[in-house]
């Protein structure tokens, strides 16, 4: 099998031998694939500088099975490197994709969403919102989309002022007045937060906090027990930047 000129992003690269690289690549039409880039580490290699994450590429490969061989790569469009905090967000997305995507499962819409998210990360400094929206699309593309538009019990539309109890596998259930002071099994949040996530527009910090707790819980189902390395690092970065070491301990409690 020979494939030419496929839009793709490198998710991860590792040294394979003295001269070669092992790549995990996310492609538009073939999903995640594993590739060997022979000779890519040589100083004379023409692809050495471009086989890096967050850069849109056009690549070709041959062979099938677990590892194919890269036959060509060129940069597609301008240099799109990420800087500062956006870089850590990028690592986070890549790690989640590596953990959740199976090789050779095509995910066209997710590729589109990934690309849009990278674009937004470069221009938008509300990184948190951008990540939550990506996570929402990711879950939907994997077939675990969240119910965000209606109460799962009576199917009534979500009301901004009402309080809901969200159980990940089921969806939001509006809490009756009497239940408000009782413990419930899901994640508790205002309807406004569900609407914000549905409409991808977060007007208040509390909406982002709710969305984060919900996404954490929803993703935890699929990520398993192994913690995400990039999430740990990201927390350290935020703690360092704000000089608040306690943030390291605090952030993690939400949603477990």
């Amino acid at each position: 099998m020979r494939i030419h000129q496929q839009p793709a992003y490198v998710l991860h690269h590792r040294d394979y031998s003295e001269t070669s690289l092992l790549l995990e690549v996310f492609t538009a039409r073939h999903g995640r694939i594993g590739l060997i880039a022979k000779g890519a580490r040589r100083a004379s290699s023409r692809v050495r500088g471009i086989l890096k994450p967050f850069q849109r590429l056009l690549i070709g490969w041959s062979g099938k099975g677990e590892l194919a061989v890269l036959t060509g790569a060129e940069q597609d469009g301008p240099d799109t490197s990420l800087a500062a905090q956006a870089l850590y967000c990028g690592f986070y997305m890549n790690e989640v994709l590596l953990r959740l995507l199976h090789r050779h499962d095509p995910h066209d819409a997710l590729f589109e969403a990934y690309q849009n998210t990278l674009q937004r990360l470069r221009h938008d400094d509300t990184n948190e919102a951008v990540l939550r929206i990506f996570e929402k699309h990711l879950l939907r593309e994997l077939g675990y989309g969240l119910v965000l538009d209606r109460d799962v019990v009576d199917r009534a539309p979500i009301e901004a002022q009402a309080v809901y109890d969200y159980i990940v596998d089921r969806g939001p259930r509006r809490l009756a007045h009497l239940e408000l002071n009782l413990p419930t099994e899901g994640i508790r949040m205002r309807g406004a937060s569900l609407i914000a996530l549905e409409q991808e527009s977060f007007a208040e910090a509390a909406m982002l906090r709710d969305a984060k707790a919900l996404m954490r819980a929803a993703l935890a189902r699929h990520l398993g027990d192994q913690p995400l390395h990039s999430r740990k690092l990201f927390r350290r970065v935020v703690a360092t930047a704000t000089g608040d070491v306690m943030a390291e301990a605090g952030v993690d409690k939400a949603g477990g």
């Binding site: 590792r14 990028g90 690592f91 390395h229």
Partner: protein
């Protein structure tokens, strides 16, 4: 329980070298035993010496035969300048340029979140302790221009600035003797962005 032959043990030992698979290991073993026993003794002796005598410099983390390496103990070096690099070979390259007269810190790696390589794994706590001593006034971030190198530079930059120490990133551009036509466009873009008065 130990029924592998001496020859087999040698092959397996050689395979610990990066990039050496079973075939190369076997070729090396036969070469040393058949054609160059003297070379084999030299290698064995050199390895033993190196492993016994080389330590990490307690200041810059570079490999050194003394507790404090020659660069760190030189009185002619500017101790207020600290250049952070990923590897000993990066240090050598930079130092050979002859324009830098400060000290170094060698990370022996770079942040690589997806491989689980975080700040502790690359000696960042030691770097922080060094910054806390108060002699360093400027840190030059000379990690590679890869995404991991950039992430590392950003991370350390935050730590440096949090201590009210100046942080700078080395400039990248067109190599001398490099023809613009054959220079990749990212390098050109950076060279343009970092242009200076002529």
């Amino acid at each position: 329980m130990n029924d592998i032959t001496v020859l087999e043990a040698l092959k397996q030992a050689l395979r610990r070298l990066p990039g050496v698979g079973p075939k190369s290991a076997s070729r090396m073993a036969y070469h040393l035993l058949e054609r160059d026993r003297e070379g084999a003794r030299l290698i064995a002796q050199a390895l033993t010496n190196a492993v016994e005598r080389i330590v990490h410099c307690k200041r810059c983390n570079n490999l050194s035969e003394t507790e404090l390496c020659p660069i760190c103990s030189s009185p002619r070096r500017d101790k207020s300048l600290l250049c952070v690099v990923e590897s000993p070979s990066d240090l050598v390259s930079l130092d050979q340029s002859g324009v830098y007269n400060g000290l170094y810190f060698v990370l022996m790696g770079r942040l690589s979140p997806l491989d689980g390589i975080g700040p502790e794994e690359i000696g960042i706590p030691r770097l922080e302790a060094l910054l806390d001593e108060g002699t360093v006034k400027e840190v030059v971030l000379a990690t590679n221009l890869t995404v991991e190198g950039e992430a590392t530079a950003h991370y350390i930059g935050d730590l440096v600035r949090a201590r009210r120490i100046k942080a700078s990133r080395i400039a990248y551009g067109v190599p001398i003797g490099g023809e613009l036509e054959y220079t990749d466009r990212n390098t050109l873009a950076r060279a343009l962005a970092g242009r200076r008065e002529a």
